[in-house]
């Protein structure tokens, strides 16, 4: 049924009704109308439901006719290389990995001097995106695809993990270089003999020539907080052996002990990189939750075995 009212009057009526419905609810408004017109309330509600159903069907029909982003990309007038990149981008768009919301699309287009216009549905916006990116070079398009993996709002958790992973990796690099200097220096012989506890403490307090990682590792192994789930074993067991099982290398005397924490850090950093960056060809069988497991162990260190 179409309204016979003038557009201004119709808008005024809709505004009035909208504010009434907002305050009292649609049902109360309909009830009041039915009382005014002496029309049965059920009839009014049936009429409203039928209107809603028709609108829903119209929307469904429109959606079913809507082409996917991939479909639009495949039909784009672009050279083959660029078209394949476009299809890649469209695939991510269809999976909401790229520009997941309409405001994201608006921002993306505005950054490129374009306007979203009257587009109301995300799925209708891909044509606009295609026209915005068609002028880009293949290199820029590739960069866009790579960056689209990180689409959407940033969160503290992944950033915190990245900082920790990079910190671990940087520490391991420093330790590797200090280990090299240490092994080639004159203090090597001194270290081959077990250091007394007082020396260990002294070193930890600031002797730069002594690798602090080794000290830290010795301490943490004694406390049983480093390991791969074997921390319930006696902490006084061979630290080098524990470390070797953790990082899958054979113990190499003092060297194994010194570099354990280093390699541990590297493993954590490497694993974080693998988890963060999709690498479909990777055949790595290491457990994917080891970083979380390590963090969990640090939060709940196993009790010291006396």
């Amino acid at each position: 049924m179409t309204s016979k009212l003038h557009r201004d009057d119709r808008e005024f009526l809709q505004e009035m009704l909208a504010s009434l419905a907002k305050r009292f609810g649609s049902d109360e408004v309909l009830l009041a109308l039915s009382e005014i017109e002496e029309m049965p309330f059920d009839r009014l509600r049936r009429r409203r439901n039928a209107e809603q159903e028709r609108a829903t069907q119209r929307e469904r029909g429109r959606n079913s006719e809507r082409p996917s982003a991939v479909h639009i990309a495949e039909r784009a007038d672009a050279p083959p290389g660029k078209k394949s990149l476009l299809v890649n981008l469209a695939l991510q768009f269809d999976h909401k990995a790229f520009l997941p919301t309409l405001p994201d699309i608006r921002h993306f287009l505005e950054m490129r001097g374009q306007d979203l216009g009257s587009v109301k549905q995300r799925s209708d916006a891909f044509r606009k995106i295609v026209s915005a990116v068609l002028g880009m070079s293949e290199e820029a398009l590739e960069r866009l695809i790579v960056n689209s993996r990180h689409s959407g709002p940033s969160q503290l958790g992944p950033l915190s993990d990245a900082i920790k992973a990079v910190g671990a990796s940087t520490r391991s690099e420093r330790n590797n270089s200090s280990l090299f200097a240490y092994e080639s220096g004159e203090r090597r012989q001194a270290d081959e003999a077990p250091a007394p506890a007082s020396d260990v403490n002294k070193s930890a307090q600031g002797d730069d020539a002594t690798p602090k990682t080794a000290v830290r590792h010795k301490q943490t192994v004694e406390e049983g907080s480093v390991g791969d789930g074997k921390s319930s074993q006696p902490a006084a067991s061979d630290p080098a052996s524990d470390a070797a099982s953790d990082i899958n290398i054979a113990p190499q005397g003092d060297k194994g002990t010194v570099s354990t924490s280093t390699v541990n850090d590297q493993a954590v950093a490497a694993e974080f990189v693998e988890k963060s960056i999709p690498q479909p060809s990777s055949q790595d069988k290491r457990p994917h939750n080891r970083y979380d497991a390590l963090r969990s162990q640090n939060r709940n260190p196993p009790k010291r075995n006396r």
Binding site: T101, G113, G152, P153, Q155, A162
Partner: protein
Amino acid sequence: MSRPDGPLVVCVINLKGGVGKSTITTLLSRHAFTNRKKDVLAIDLDPQANLSQALMHASYNDFLIHKRPSIVEIFKGYLPPARGAGPKPLVGAVETIADVGTHSLQLIPSRFDFSDNLTASLRPDTTVLARHLATNFQHKDLIMIDCAPTESVLTHAAYHASSMVLVPVKPEYFATIGFPLLQESLANFRSANRGNSINVAGVVINNAFYDGGNNGGPEKIRAMADIKKEAATNGWPVFKTELQFSRGYPKLMRGDNSYSGNASLFPIFAREFFNAIGL
């Protein structure tokens, strides 16, 4: 087409933290690129790297873990050895945020170990950044530098590279204390570097501390009076447009475009600022 005299270089600074330096740098850089179609370079000189995060969003994590070059490498002057190869000449060290045709919005990002690296240097060279920009970025229209909130070699590096300073301030007592500190810092720099004519382009009032409901009350009025008096004493203009409080700002910095609220009024200030500096 780039400017005949080279890029305008503005550093955003206040020797007081939390006044909105990174937010303002981010939004001005974006506005210049998007609305004024300018070729823009943003530089993050703050080891907290908020500007980098605000422009790169989640891809900043990727930048970190792949150890791509940053402001740290610019100060070092080379790319560190990697994968068994030795050090390499510094090329790039920029992240492209967006590009359209011939103009782009690029960023020299920062890292959290930036200050550690400088502290470890025997004598950090504060002219490195200026020389790097003079050699590599003369084609840019605008360079925006986000400074750290304390006086250090980083501040001096920004002064060497900049022709103008933008000073964000919040109308609250502690924020006004940053004014005399900055005036002293600039006076000392000018005295030690007579060839450099760095000027304060203006002070922008960032109202973010206050709820728009009561507009700050008597304390804001006192702080505003202090700011205007101090700015007049120093000969610093105060921009007419104040930045209104908005919950949209932190959302935009996170990369959440769902709501911008009063942050959508930022272009009013951006217009006034860019007209004032002649972009």
